[in-house]
Amino acid sequence: MTISKPLGRQTEKLTTGTQAVAQAVKLADVDVMAAYPIRPYDGVMQAVAKLIADGELDAEYIVAESEHSQFEICKHASAVGSRVFVGSSGVGWMYAMESNAVTPSLRLPVVAMIGNRALDDPGAFGVEHNDAMAVRDLGWLLFWVEDAQECFDATLMAYRVGEDKRVFLPVGLGVDGAFITHSQTLIKIPDQETVNEFLPPYDLGERLLHPDNPISIAPQANEDWVMEIRKQTDDAAKRVKGVIREAHDDFRRLFGRGGDNPFFEEYMTEDAEYVLFGMGSLGLPAKVMVRRLRDRGEKVGFVRLKWFRPFPDEELAEVLGRFRAVGVVDRDYAYGSPQHGGVLFTDLRAALYDAERRPRVVNFIGGLGGRELTPEMMDEMAYITKRAAAGETVPTVSWIGVRE
């Protein structure tokens, strides 16, 4: 990976993932935030409130009476030209689903932090990715972050990509509860000037809802209209990858971070024979596992997906085709799906179907409800993937770390 020298001044700060998001919200100069508390999202609600109280950010901060209203408020504020920030977790996010489901069709670039949380019952705070994944087919762009630094970086990236005129789609940031939201690490924060260079002001243009620009949004429509509306969103979704590439190049040039590939990160894959593949905070134990096994001569690597929507199918097919086997780690479940595997697994298999070189793809379901994925569990997954690479018979889907 080549790292260029960042422009401008960067300051170091010890922050949690949610505090890092709040720092980016401040530098993005967000106009409206609507809040309703639920763990682990609520950390960002506290952090932004503190920035406003301390006079560091001038924004409307609206505490709603539910998540449903919270997301409606931001959707509407976005339509009148405000840059908005919103978020939730688990069942709170699901309660807002009526609003979430229509935001992409309205082509409003709402940015939401989804502090990933199990869908309770049972009452549980821990991470699972099923909450954010509920919008995966609806037009939301979804990015999964690895650590507090990426919380900051991806928030700026979300505004830049979502508000691009070729896109105008909402963006969800998947932030693993506890592992990222509740641990503090040192991050680098750029200055306002450099952020301004990366992120132009939010401009809806002729779609701005304003008395001087008489338009009406989302009237009743019948079958004569709906399919064309869907096709517009489909076209926009197809344009996103190009916009991400541009934004990523600018990001690296200005901030000196982000790696070579805008869509996923490859870790020690150069001569790898098999790799694990996953999203979010599992990058940390996975990398520790790869280093340990490499010391023992194993040709193992790790690929971490950043953008889950749009799914970088062609890019992944090209890279993963180099390996004999890929072990997909799902921090989610998809009951009754093909092979009873996870969501990521099923998507990746579909993406590789037309590829010239297809690795074997096996699946691991683990870390549900906030359970840790330890380096030792990663060892176990790497071992099964290695056996798959050698052509041995292994289960297509394995649950890791579940008590029998």
Partner: protein
């Protein structure tokens, strides 16, 4: 246990250092735990973790802090933990961070001495020893006005030598919802610098405080006070309370009932799996002779911990009492229910004291009066107007 060593000769970390040079040991990642009371000390623990990392940063180390997520520290008094991990470089930091909760702690800091009796953030875990994950040669730092002998009656023994550092003072419970600075964080940092300079030197944390414009002379004074006042005791292997902790065996998915169902109890029975007494810093002591049997305590107790006897009295089942003090507030008879610091009951544990009263009323009253004289608590410290209560290491006057 050896006698307390001179405070100005900090012990060398007796790590499991066999076969390694002192430089190697010094360059290892370090983990510091802060065990605290939910809500009251949440911000205090967070402040401490942050300062450990910032002090380590002064020698170009990296660090991270972790709030143990499953604790739900938003519940008043619940034992909870935060960790600071520091390491000389990114690779070694990642090795440690890859395991969310550190397996071995170099320092465990106990922000309220009533936690020494064991911690139980979720009732089904069982009461875990305060020093469960203290590594060989590690340091347990406690804020307390009690002696090492007293504390070692509740702190379990270890199979190796370790260090008990006592920072004289009243545990600060001054952070209910809004954090109130009483200098405790500074004193604890000073004490860590004294006992474990391998974590950070005094000069490092001093310069962190100097550079923080929100902190002033009084904070520097508190930092120095902690450094000077901490008393260090070397504890030999085998000294301390018998360790009877057994890790809980959790059932597999084939054993569990489907549909997220757990066993409950019939009316009138208590659930032996949901005991909450480690949330407690103080407990009610009842005078059965002045009790008018009005049942207010029984009615208002949020944890339903009052039993009913044939005579119509209400003894406390201390296994279920969280020490909230509501019973003492609603009791209409003066001093019939009095709240007393929980560490006064090391001998009694959670035993029912009603049989003692039935058997020998005079002995019961002597016992009761002694407990009240030693440890009466009129109210939690968050009502205490004297925010810098540690001053001179003396307990603040609670009755004012």
């Amino acid at each position: 246990m050896s006698s307390g060593t001179e405070a100005n000769t900090p012990p060398v970390a007796q790590d499991s250092a066999a076969g390694r040079s002192s430089t190697e040991v010094r360059e290892e990642a370090k983990s510091v735990e802060f065990t605290y009371r939910g809500i009251y000390q949440k911000t205090l623990a967070a402040n401490l973790c942050k300062h450990v990392v910032m002090a380590a940063r002064k020698r170009d180390w990296l660090g991270s802090t972790i709030q143990r997520y499953g604790d739900s520290p938003e519940r008043n008094g619940v034992p909870a933990k935060q960790f600071a991990v520091i390491a000389p470089d990114e690779m070694r930091l990642q090795e440690h961070m890859a395991k969310y909760e550190p397996n071995e702690l170099d320092v465990i800091t106990v922000l309220d001495d009533t936690l020494c009796d064991g911690v139980e953030s979720w009732a089904f875990y069982g009461r875990q020893p305060i020093n469960l994950r203290l590594r060989r040669g590690g340091t347990l730092l406690v804020i307390s006005n009690r002696s090492a002998e007293e504390l070692l009656k509740v702190i379990p023994r270890k199979p190796w030598d370790w260090t008990l550092a006592i920072l004289p003072g009243t545990p600060s419970l001054g952070g209910l919802w809004v954090y109130r600075d009483d200098g405790t964080d500074m004193r604890v940092l000073g004490a860590i610098a004294r006992t474990r300079p391998d974590i950070f030197e005094f000069s490092a944390v001093e310069s962190v405080v100097n550079e923080d414009e929100k902190l002033g002379e009084e904070h520097l004074a508190a930092l120095r006070d902690g450094y000077e006042e901490v008393v260090i005791h070397e504890v030999a292997a085998g000294v301390g309370k018998e360790d009877d902790y057994e890790p809980v065996r959790l059932p597999g998915y084939k054993e569990m009932r489907e549909g997220i169902i757990v066993e409950a109890r019939k009316l009138g029975e208590r659930n032996p799996d949901y005991k909450t007494s480690s949330d407690r810093t103080m407990r009610p002591v009842v005078n059965f002779d002045t009790c008018i049997k009005c049942r207010q305590c029984w009615l208002d107790c949020p944890d339903e911990c009052f039993d009913i006897t044939e005579e119509g009295f209400h003894p406390v089942n201390y296994d279920y009492c969280t020490g909230c003090g509501i019973c003492a507030q609603v009791c209409p008879v003066e001093d019939c229910i009095v709240m007393v610091n929980d560490l006064e009951f090391i001998e009694e544990g959670n035993e029912d004291v009603f049989p003692m009263w039935k058997e020998d009323k005079e002995a019961y009253h002597r016992w009761r009066e002694e407990k009240i004289a030693n440890g009466r608590i009129e109210h939690h410290d968050y009502f205490n107007a004297d925010t810098w209560a540690w001053s001179g290491g003396k307990q603040a006057d609670r009755t004012s």
